[in-house]
């Protein structure tokens, strides 16, 4: 692949022909379509998902059974839902640790309004989503306008929202929910084994995919994540965009809380404790860069499904939740470590290769610095999943990648 690109690049840098006028045209992409599609972090995780699925189907008893898809999807529905807005938040370089607490608060609000106050589920649910929006507004305000670090803010609201939820109900649980709504939450689409909750989930997925990938707002989020200063200079309203992403996490978390409440017929303050870390793990597994600026919805969905399939298959195998935890943790560490490992291996091989990209190949001193060979230094890592963390790292990498000094 490198050779091909090099040829392509070399061809387009006809240095001496300066004045060719305005007529110059550019290829849209420097990689062929298959490269762009298959050599990406997202595709890697999708491939892994498929492999795991196949292995599970062939070698785990009962995995291909009729109930698996149903339970698997119901189990990860909240995870998938919250992962969507969380992707947006992380792409802007922020984080929201309070989602599971918001979910817990939402389940308590629904419980109190429905069971104790006697409101119908739709009304109670709407109010719960409103509470979720308020939670998001509070986070978003502190992060986007007061400019506090989201990590600290949401560690605070992680405790605050959960504390309010637990405080409101103590350790009692409200369980007396309208049976019709509980049945609806656990029902399937027609005769299929697909749970009905997937209808709203798929709608959300479509909405978030379009929002992130096909709107000016979504593109602004990537800019903010890469470099919020540059985004502001381009006319992106950074504060309002960040506020919006936090409101979205709040609202969707609350919606997930309603589903959770109805599915388990159970409104408790400590519902969904610890889910925030699972959501973040799914998002990061799906190829979203923790520093912001990179990631895609399809990768995140694959990440969430991978966690779901692994858990389901291992549970069926009688493997306990602990081993599942270990596997998720290892996957997470390996997925973020991979780019560094790849870069390290490259560095080793290039060093061993002696006079690889040495001075003799570079353009003469007086010529202006042209992109003589962009492929050699940065390309390989950039594509599979390397975080282009910051300029300093890049130059540091370039530095150490360069040849040892020779005194002629």
């Amino acid at each position: 692949m490198t050779a091909a690109t090099r040829a392509e690049t070399g061809a387009s840098t006809g240095a001496p022909e300066r004045r060719r006028g305005d007529g110059r045209t550019y290829a849209a992409y420097h990689r062929p379509w298959w490269f762009r599609t298959f050599i990406s972090a997202e595709f890697l995780i999708i491939a892994l998902l498929v492999v795991v699925w196949i292995i599970a189907t062939t070698s785990v008893d009962n995995f291909s059974g009729p109930l698996t898809v149903r339970y698997l999807l119901m189990d990860i529905a909240p995870l998938m839902m919250i992962a969507l807005p969380m992707t947006l938040v992380i792409i802007t370089g922020q984080i929201d640790l309070s989602v599971a607490s918001t979910m817990g608060l939402s389940t308590v609000v629904v419980g109190i309004l429905h069971v104790q106050v006697g409101l119908s589920i739709p009304v109670a649910g709407l109010l719960a989503i409103l509470v979720g929006v308020l939670c998001g507004v509070f986070n978003g305000f502190l992060v986007a306008y007061v400019k506090l670090p989201s990590l600290a803010v949401t560690i605070g609201t992680l405790a605050l929202y959960r504390g309010i939820a637990v405080g409101l109900l103590g350790t009692t649980a409200l369980t007396d929910f309208d049976q019709e709504w509980s049945d609806l939450a656990t029902s399937s689409i027609g005769e299929s084994r697909i749970p009905a909750i997937m209808i709203p989930v798929v709608i959300l997925i479509v909405i978030f995919a379009v929002l992130l990938h096909f709107t000016p707002f979504g593109r602004g989020l990537y800019d903010i994540g890469h470099n919020d200063q540059a985004a502001r200079f381009s006319g992106v309203n950074v504060a309002r965009s960040q506020m919006t992403t936090f409101i979205l996490t709040g609202a969707v978390s609350a919606a997930a809380g309603i589903f959770y409440t109805l599915r388990f017929g159970n409104s408790r303050g400590d519902n969904a404790t610890g889910l925030e870390l699972e959501v973040i793990a799914a998002v990061l597994l799906g190829g979203v860069l923790i520093f912001g600026g990179r990631g895609a919805i399809h990768g995140v969905l694959a990440g969430a499904l991978l966690i779901g399939v692994l858990s389901s298959a291992l549970r069926l195998e009688g493997v306990t939740v602990n081993v599942i935890n270990i596997i998720i943790g290892l996957l997470l560490v390996i997925s973020v470590l991979a780019p560094t490992l790849v870069a390290g291996v490259q560095r080793l091989t290039s060093r061993r290769g002696g006079s690889g990209p040495g001075p003799e190949r570079s353009s003469p001193a007086s010529a202006p610095p042209e992109p003589s060979d962009p492929a050699t230094q940065q390309e390989p890592t950039q594509h599979d999943s390397a975080p282009n963390q910051s300029t300093h790292q890049e130059s540091a990498r370039a530095d150490s990648a360069s040849k040892p000094t020779v005194t002629p």
Partner: protein
């Protein structure tokens, strides 16, 4: 995807080895360790396959995942102690729809979500045993507090209610000043004990109708200035409490034999899954070394009366 093997559950239940899954409230709870051991013993006796799963924390949603898994695996019987009477009903009924026999023990769900409930003792018996123990230890007067498991624990709540009634009726000088919840978590129960003693300086006794709670309370009091002044009693296992009975922190406490409870539950599951009984009132089944049991009203089977442990007899037990 999945292929249509919907009848695998039935296919297996016709065969020899009956698969039984035990699902306690949470893992790492010594009480359930013991009852599961009894269950395993019984399953071995009737030649089934035994497995044991459970959530880390005693929450209903944690249990639902395992109920679902049991349904997916097409287990023949599921024996569980419910973390919530109604929250897990949906999942249990789905499991019963694919022919999993559901037996609850220790803590029940609503009667329509399970086939049988194996009760350790009648609720009245348990409540009354604890009231008598505490009344004796504080000479029928003073302030007592209750350290329970979670606020939603079905059985604990019922016992507490009955204890309150009995005290109000028969012991006018005993006052229940507080009921707190340690969630069957050591650290929390321990801290709750400290908070109780701090808040109620004239407290005479703590009654903890849960094994984790009583051990934590005893441990806190044994090392504190309250040793000998504040009585601790309730429901506990001999191994956990031995140290405190021997050093005098705890005079006496009650429990049934949890091993027998698990043992009986497993046999009840066997009887159901093998089609020997339907779970109707009046059905009878054999329970190995424990002999014959009869299903009572609401599909309830009662193990027996609680047993009181004290320094005299605690040496005779090891569970």
């Amino acid at each position: 995807g999945d292929s249509g093997e919907g009848d695998s559950a039935e296919g297996e239940s016709g065969g020899e080895a009956l698969s039984v899954t035990f699902l306690p409230k949470n893992l790492g709870n010594p009480y359930f360790e013991t009852s599961n051991a009894g269950g395993e013993e019984a399953v071995e006796e009737f030649g089934g396959s035994y497995s044991e799963v459970g959530p880390q924390e005693a929450t209903p949603d944690g249990q639902v995942e395992y109920i679902n898994t049991a349904a997916q695996q097409g287990e023949d019987a599921l024996v569980l102690s419910a973390n919530d009477p109604s929250a897990i009903c949906g999942a249990l009924n789905e499991a019963r729809d694919v022919d999993v026999a559901v037996v609850t023990f220790d803590s029940d769900t609503d009667a329509e979500c399970r086939d049988l409930f194996v009760n350790q003792a009648t609720a009245e018996g348990i409540a009354s045993a604890q009231v008598q123990l505490v009344a004796e230890q504080i000479d029928e007067e003073g302030q007592i507090a209750i350290l329970s498991a979670s606020a939603n624990a079905t059985n604990q709540n019922l016992w507490i209610e009955l204890m309150e009634e009995e005290i109000a009726a028969d012991y006018p000088d005993i006052e229940i000043v507080d009921t707190v919840y340690g969630d069957d978590d050591d650290q929390r129960s321990f801290d709750q004990t400290a908070a109780l003693l701090q808040t109620h300086s004239d407290l005479d006794a703590i009654v903890s109708p849960t094994t984790v709670g009583i051990a934590a309370a005893a441990r806190y009091i044994a090392d504190s200035d309250y040793a000998g002044e504040v009585a601790v009693t309730g429901l506990g296992t001999p191994n956990q409490m031995r140290e405190y009975v021997e050093d005098g922190t705890v005079e006496a406490f009650a429990l049934w034999n949890p091993e027998d409870l698990g043992y009986l539950s497993a046999w009840a599951a066997n009887a159901l899954a093998s089609g020997e009984i339907e779970g109707n009132e009046g059905d009878t089944f054999e329970a190995g070394r424990l002999g014959e049991y009869t299903v009572g009203a609401d599909g309830e089977v009662v193990l027996g009366e609680p047993f009181v442990f004290d320094s005299e007899n605690i040496g005779d037990f090891d569970f």
